[in-house]
């Protein structure tokens, strides 16, 4: 039988752990709401940039602008791995890393750009192809941060002989569900629907300049969207993980309390038996 005092100490320690996991769940819920809000606010801008790009492309099917057409010479490839900076979010990072490792084994020549501390910490021990790592970006979720990442990628693509850049990230489906997405970032993929926009715009200055500018902006908002999705998914994953941790703690506390009461009962019984038998001894 465990010592009553030991059980009591364990119960107290689990109780304080439960308090922490509960608080983390609340914080994750608040951050999730913030991230969701940002996604909603980013949508009109992102959708419209995408639409404009579609319209211009539709009008310029022959355009060989590097941002939107497959390069003729195959160059290097790179891929961006988006993980979180912090742990305690269930299988969020594991899912990404597993997919990333699979991708690496299929494309051993691909260079890697890490966003998020967790992915970098894992991959740096297993591969030497990491060319850049962005850490602690999720602390200050600001559009200018994603612009920086985007312009780094655009420079790689336009100036450094990379012919394809992919990104792998967690997409936010719901609080309890994330989906790992592998997506081609550059060159920009043709839009899925080829519906004709009824309007004939007048372009100024010329279409290639606009494709270039819109393409750059498109990558900016894509990165922004990817980071927001990933951060929302992370907070969702953390919320669920912390919720079940809190439940587990409560269950454990229940079991230990039962054990504690049994032990207390047993000690009382022993004590009474001792007194009773002592009294019995005096009587006789």
């Amino acid at each position: 039988m465990e010592n009553i005092r030991d059980i009591k100490i364990r119960i107290d320690s689990i109780k304080s752990t439960r308090q922490i996991t509960k608080a983390m769940k609340m914080v994750a819920a608040a951050n999730l709401r913030k991230a969701q809000n940002k996604i909603l606010k980013a949508r009109p801008y992102a959708d419209y940039i995408e639409l404009m790009l579609k319209v211009i492309r539709f009008k310029n099917k022959e355009s060989r602008h590097p941002l939107i057409s497959e390069p003729e010479i195959k160059g290097k490839t790179a891929f961006v791995v988006v993980t979180s900076d912090r742990g305690l979010c269930g299988s969020f990072n594991y899912n990404i890393i597993r997919q990333a490792m699979e991708y690496i084994s299929q494309n051993p020549q691909a260079d890697i750009i890490c966003i998020g501390r967790k992915g970098f910490d894992y991959l740096k021990k297993r591969t030497d192809r990491i060319i850049k790592s962005h850490r602690d970006l999720f602390n200050q979720m600001d559009f200018s941060v994603s612009v920086e990442v985007a312009s780094f990628l655009l420079d790689l693509y336009l100036l450094e002989n990379y012919s394809q850049i992919n990104v792998i990230y967690n997409e936010y489906k719901s609080v309890i569900q994330q989906r790992v997405v592998l997506k081609q970032l550059l060159p920009i993929q043709p839009p899925e629907d080829d519906t004709i926009h009824p309007l004939d715009f007048i372009y100024e200055p010329d279409q290639d300049t606009l494709i270039e500018e819109l393409g750059r902006k498109y990558i900016d908002v894509e990165i922004w969207r990817v980071m927001l999705e990933s951060s929302a998914a992370e907070q969702g994953a953390r919320m669920t993980a912390m919720d079940s941790a809190t439940d587990n703690a409560s269950e454990l506390i229940g079991q230990l309390t039962l054990k504690f009461n049994r032990a207390r009962q047993a000690s009382i019984t022993t004590e009474i038996i001792e007194i009773a038998s002592g009294a019995e001894a005096i009587k006789s």
Binding site: K41, P44, M52, L199, Y203, E204, P205, L214
Partner: protein
């Protein structure tokens, strides 16, 4: 007179939406005015002052880059930064101008820092321009 709507889309928010008599936009190929029933049109914005006219009053904003599209009596302005009169601090803009000018003197023209300073200078000049015109 029929009106034209203006919607300002930013990556993190959607700002002004309202109806105006006419609008003057700084395009890369020069400032241009837009009235209702304008033909569909796309252009890039250069750093300058966006002016929204409505019934004799005018709202002015400093704008630095982005796009504008005119389509079906709706002007969409897509930009990252746009600042109203009360969001600009004149002394800060002056300081930024001096800093940028100094940096441009110190660095070579091909340098990335030179281009950065140039962008910063343009922004500062637009802000100063807007603030100075306030009194006019």
């Amino acid at each position: 007179m029929s009106k034209i709507s203006v919607l300002i889309l930013q990556p993190f928010t959607t700002k002004i939406s309202g109806d105006f008599d006419h609008v003057i936009i700084p395009g890369v190929e020069g400032d241009f005015g837009v009235y209702a029933e304008h033909t569909p049109f796309i252009t890039k914005i250069r750093p300058g002052i966006l002016q929204l006219f409505n019934e004799g009053s005018v709202q002015k904003y400093a704008i630095h880059d982005g796009f504008v599209t005119v389509d079906a009596n709706l002007i969409r302005i897509l930009c990252e930064t746009i600042e109203g009169m009360d969001e600009i601090d004149l002394s800060r803009a002056e300081a930024a101008r001096q800093r940028a000018e100094k940096r441009m003197k110190e660095t070579a023209e091909a340098d990335i820092d030179f281009r950065r300073a140039e962008v910063a200078l343009k922004k500062a000049l637009v802000r100063i321009d807007l603030k100075k015109n306030e009194s006019l």
